[in-house]
């Protein structure tokens, strides 16, 4: 009799646990792991974007500096020829 009681209790609880697990999407896909992956992907993307942006800024600054230098040189030539 005692054996039947404990077997019934154990199997009942196991069956209830398995039924709950079947309904649980988290069993196969962990929300934390998913969120961590998305965070990492976003960080990578942000790093790439900021890298690209700073490269662009550097290129624009260099271009502007070169332009300003060329303008200054032209101005100097013009001044020399006028004098």
């Amino acid at each position: 009799m005692i054996d039947y009681i404990s077997l019934a209790l154990g199997h009942g609880l196991l069956a209830a646990a398995f039924l709950r697990l079947v309904m649980l999407d988290d069993l196969d896909v962990d929300p934390q792991v998913k969120a961590q992956k998305e965070r990492a992907r976003a960080e990578r993307a942000a790093a790439t974007n900021s890298g690209r942006a700073s490269q662009k800024v550097r290129a624009q600054t260099a271009k502007a500096a070169a332009k300003a230098a060329a303008k200054a040189a032209d101005q100097a030539d013009a001044d020399r020829s006028a004098s």
Partner: protein
């Protein structure tokens, strides 16, 4: 009738597994622990339920599982090395027939323990495995506990579901496993998500803990008493009010004393007097023989090499006639005495290389759980708070098992190999979160070391940084 109930339950889980194949892994865990095919009498004994469940578990993982986050770790490598080494020692085993019998279940237990962590890739799976382990053992423990309360018991007299004294259905092994799983069962009262914390969960766990503590008493297994003592010492670390804890344990112990049978006192008294009991006194002789044997066979003698031993020694034998008890010292010859210790079991069977692998396997587990416990201690968010207590429970399970294993040959106990699988699964699952957690710890440590003015300056800096980020974000949009 009982057979039909078991078959219906197994069929039910096989059916559920079609939607979630991981349930087939849990089905194998349940079958391996409870062994319904050995409890039943008719049809189920003919069915290869264990093989069916393993095939479903492995096939389901290979064909249907996402396998995202599955890793092969160092400890799985150690178990694989142990498995290969066991096979190698089998080839030159001193007693090939009995070695083959033991190999027949050891390789399955080791293979499943290697495979198990590959399937543990989510928090829900960690909890599901812990729950299946606990409930499968609880089914045996509750039945045994009820029998003890209702008057059964005594060393070798208690009737389990299975009467062949093998695997978990051996009194000392059951006592060790039951005590080792107490902290894990207690974990469910606070952090469970399958069965949420509720008074019904707490009541069930309380009853289970009580039944587990009764196992060493009811079976009069001395090793179980040592395991309870080990649990008490280990719990001191996690108890805030240590003095109250020690006092409560003392009161509880004293209250229980009058209810214990006299046979229990007699048997426990032999813990300190190994000379007065054949089982205890032969242990010392077997252990010394094993050291000697290992020096002659350092690579091991294969499974069941203990069969080579033979001892003659003088022992007090008590004879009672009426009211008179006479003690006589007689020569006792003992042959083929079992190792009575997992350390000596592995040393005698797999030699020093096997013992080294076995010790590394358990030592690394304790170390990994300690690291996880310390790293995640104090985490308060719901998705993190469960980690540190789970690591502590699994570490205690290992330590209690090792205390029990010092006095029993349970080196390849399947339940404990599954606990190792669970530890590896937890360690592996947390790997991706470690960097973020370490950064968090470093930040909180720096903040703790700061003076109030430094803290204010830091807060101002952070706020400015946040403003800068938001303005950059606005510009980018």
């Amino acid at each position: 009738m009982l057979d039909l109930v078991f078959i219906a339950f197994i069929a039910f889980v096989l059916l559920l597994g079609l939607r979630r194949p991981f349930l087939w892994v849990l089905l194998y865990v349940y079958i391996d622990i409870l062994a319904p095919q050995r409890i039943g009498y008719t049809i189920i004994t003919e069915l290869q339920v264990s093989l069916i469940a393993f095939a479903a578990a492995f096939g389901g993982w290979v064909l249907l599982d996402r396998k995202e986050g599955s890793r092969f770790t160092l400890r799985q490598g150690l178990m694989l090395a142990l498995l290969v080494y066991c096979w190698w020692t089998l080839q030159g085993a001193e007693f090939p027939d009995s070695a083959a019998t033991k190999w027949d279940w050891v390789w399955k237990a080791l293979l499943f323990a290697i495979f198990l962590p590959l399937t543990i890739t989510t928090r829900a799976r960690i909890e599901a495995l812990a729950l299946t382990l606990s409930l499968s053992v609880a089914t045996i423990v509750i039945g045994t506990g009820l029998k003890i309360v209702l008057g059964g018991g005594g060393y070798g007299n208690l009737k389990f579901f299975v009467q062949d004294n093998s695997g978990i259905y051996e009194s000392s092994t059951l006592a060790t496993v039951a005590i080792a799983l107490i902290p894990l069962a207690a974990w469910f009262t606070r952090y469970g998500t399958i069965f949420r914390p509720h008074w019904t969960v707490s009541a069930f766990v309380l009853g289970l803990v009580f039944a587990s503590l009764l196992i060493p008493i009811g079976t009069e297994a001395r090793t179980g008493l040592l395991c309870i003592a080990a649990l008490g010492v280990l719990l001191l670390r996690y108890t805030k009010r240590r003095f109250a804890f020690v006092a409560a344990a003392g009161v509880l112990g004293l209250t229980a004393l009058p209810f214990l049978p006299s046979s229990y006192y007699e048997r426990m008294a032999t813990i300190a007097q190994p000379g007065g009991d054949e089982s205890a006194s032969t242990r010392l002789a077997v252990w010394s023989w094993t050291i000697d044997y290992a020096s002659r066979n350092p690579m091991g003698g294969g499974f069941d090499s203990y069969r080579a031993n033979s001892f003659t020694y003088v022992m007090p034998v008590t004879e009672e006639s009426g009211n008179t008890a006479t003690v006589q010292y007689r020569d006792v010859v003992d042959e083929g005495r079992a190792f009575h210790s997992s350390i000596f079991e592995v040393l005698g069977e797999q030699g020093y290389p096997g013992l080294l692998i076995w010790l590394m396997l358990h030592g690394l587990g304790i170390w990994h759980m300690e690291r996880i416990y310390r790293r995640w201690k104090g985490a308060s968010a719901e998705e993190e708070a469960w980690i540190s207590p789970m690591a502590a429970a699994l570490q205690m399970a290992s330590l209690i098992y090792l205390v029990g294993a010092l006095f029993q040959g349970i080196a390849y106990q399947p339940v404990m190999l599954m606990i190792i699988g669970l530890q590896i699964g937890l360690h592996s699952y947390l790997k991706p979160f470690e960097a973020a957690r370490l950064a968090e710890i470093a930040k909180s440590r720096t903040e703790t070391d700061m003076t109030p003015s430094q803290k204010r300056a830091n807060q101002r800096r952070e706020a400015a940084k946040a403003r800068g980020n938001s303005s950059t974000g606005a510009v980018q949009t």
